[in-house]
Subunit: 196 residues, 4 copies
DNA sequence: CATGAATGAGAATTCATTCAT
DNA sequence: GATGAATGAATTCTCATTCAT
């Protein structure tokens, strides 16, 4: 089936073709720059990497947060989708929860500085919560609830705090201290959920 | 008895009294500024608060990390001292470990942005690890070892990673999101040590 | 009877009706934008208000001055026409001059920033002189000459300088300082013409 | 007698010597730049002309208005002083008023763009009114009042509007159109005061 | 030793103008 | 012809850091 947006809905879709390609270039460059220098990388650096002028970035993504959101949107969505799926396919709700958090860790540990930005408290990044945390928290909440209903975990832990804690544990995991394995610490945290 | 710190630790014991007083002023101002604006506060702000020129700060503390280290030194030392004490006074090694980590959390959650700085990966803050983490890690290691020897916790967890994880969990705890209680998450982590 | 302006004045009388309609839209939008934000309003704002792309504006009016000229052309022409008419209908040449200048002031005080732009010295606006001042100066000159011939005013004042002075006096009249009434100052100037 | 500030009052006057010299350099460079490029000249250009870094300018004059004020302060004060003096030495109050306005014109016509800036309505320049206009308006008011009391001029003209009008008439006088002589137009205006 | 003036690299952001579609 | 995406020069402002006094 063809892409709906191009095929029928949009009345002026034509010239967007290359603009969208350009946006893709931008996102790739930004993603790369984020990995290299963190999400605080200067706008000009991203522009240079993308081979465009800084104005182009500002046109597409007026604020830095817009850019960050766009860069990671897809992966966040995939994570959101995976929640119910894991719940359906896992042996127990707790197993689903553990697996899902594993997925989330996968996402975070490859994103230099993302966790940091999200916890920076900088108002410029407030919208990241709206787009990421708030999108993921309900999913996490459902998994926690299911595990709680099954009596597998201690009660009273919320989705937000668990997400936030996992995010925190992954922070700095990418700065290469071999002595710190974020995944192992998250395992500890998740194991702690069972203790009652 | 003379001041222990000057008498035995310091390699440059002869400091004029007023110089020390000056340094004290600096540290107080810096501590206050850190609380108000985080550890990234502009040097000039600290100087102004202390009523000295910026040059004076640079003379005493060539890098920002030096200043941070100096500001929190005492509390870190107190934490170090507390380790063996708790081990001696607690019912079990695990209880001592839990209590000690609680102390560390106390330290961190009142220091705006300190946890963040320590995990920033910014090379300027690398030395914080040398001064804080590395000072505390051995203590933590001993407690872990004792608890391990007593069969109270799962084996294979190192002092460094536990310290780092706790530090991470406390990051952002001061940005006032009521939904996130760092201490509770640390509890989870510590509880997780027993599992397995 | 056909539109006089197109029928006789314009050297390119064959313009497609929709192109002219388009240009009208542009001029209206520009006029509105000039009132709101002054003649220095960003091109993009005008384009947005007109519902066209910026390219369209550049096609019709390569320079900003071209646009300004076009926006105010009609009113300038009306002013030009009024000169001889007032001379014929007034009791004395001086009365005609005073009335005509009054008309000119009417024109200027409602045009935010026009007077300012015309005196800005910015080379981009040089052509405004060619289109406005130079169109009006001869009219003003005739009125001055008539009044001079009648012995009503002091000799030696040129049309250009009087126009320019009046334009200057109207500058800033629209920035709302209630203490400044441009018309009153122009009255003073015109009264000064009589003093000898 | 020695300079009081250096000699006895200031507790830390010594190193201000070169700082003050530097400020002088800054003011000279700014004055020159204002003449060349108007008061909107980029900060960097002024810095370059002065042979200092931009930061130095920001240190001394946080806002552009501060710099403009400083550059013209002396001359404004001289103008203020001249008011009463002229009143005392002139044959009639009107003669004093005319002479004083002549002085003000002298000041303005050599200051490229100053009149423009003062009438720009730009909030950044609001403080110029506070420093210039408001300083001069009372003087002008006194002269007007004296001339009015002597029955030499028409009543009802305020100091502010006269100052503003004169300022306006001098606007653009420096952009070198030989056909416009600001002084002559101001003469007309002042002559107009007598009429009526 | 202390001071704080000076430096200047760096980052953000805006907009006039061009040009591929 | 019309569109609006892209460009990048231009400008402002901030701070870490150095160094003359």
């Amino acid at each position: 089936m063809a892409d709906l947006e191009d095929g029928s809905t949009s009345p002026a879709p034509r010239k967007r073709a290359d603009a969208r390609r350009n946006e893709k270039t931008l996102l790739d460059a930004a993603a790369a720059a984020f990995v290299t220098s963190g999400v605080d990388v200067p706008v000009r650096d991203i522009a240079a990497k993308a081979g465009v002028g800084v104005g182009t970035i500002y046109r597409h993504f007026p604020t830095r947060a817009d850019l960050i959101v766009a860069v990671y949107q897809h992966q966040v969505e995939a994570c959101v989708q995976a929640g119910p799926a894991l719940l359906a396919s896992s042996s127990t709700p707790y197993a689903a929860l553990a697996a899902w958090i594993d997925l989330f860790v996968d996402f975070l540990v490859t994103k230099h500085g993302l966790a940091k930005a999200m916890q920076s408290g900088d108002s410029a990044y407030q919208s990241l919560h709206g787009s990421f945390i708030d999108r993921l928290v309900p999913v996490c909440g459902q998994l926690l609830e299911a595990a709680g209903a099954a009596g597998e975990i201690r009660p009273g832990i919320g989705g937000f705090e668990l997400m936030f804690a996992v995010g925190n544990l992954c922070s700095g995991a990418d700065y290469g201290d071999a002595r710190y394995d974020a995944r192992r610490m998250v395992d500890l945290l998740v194991a702690g959920l069972r203790a009652g």
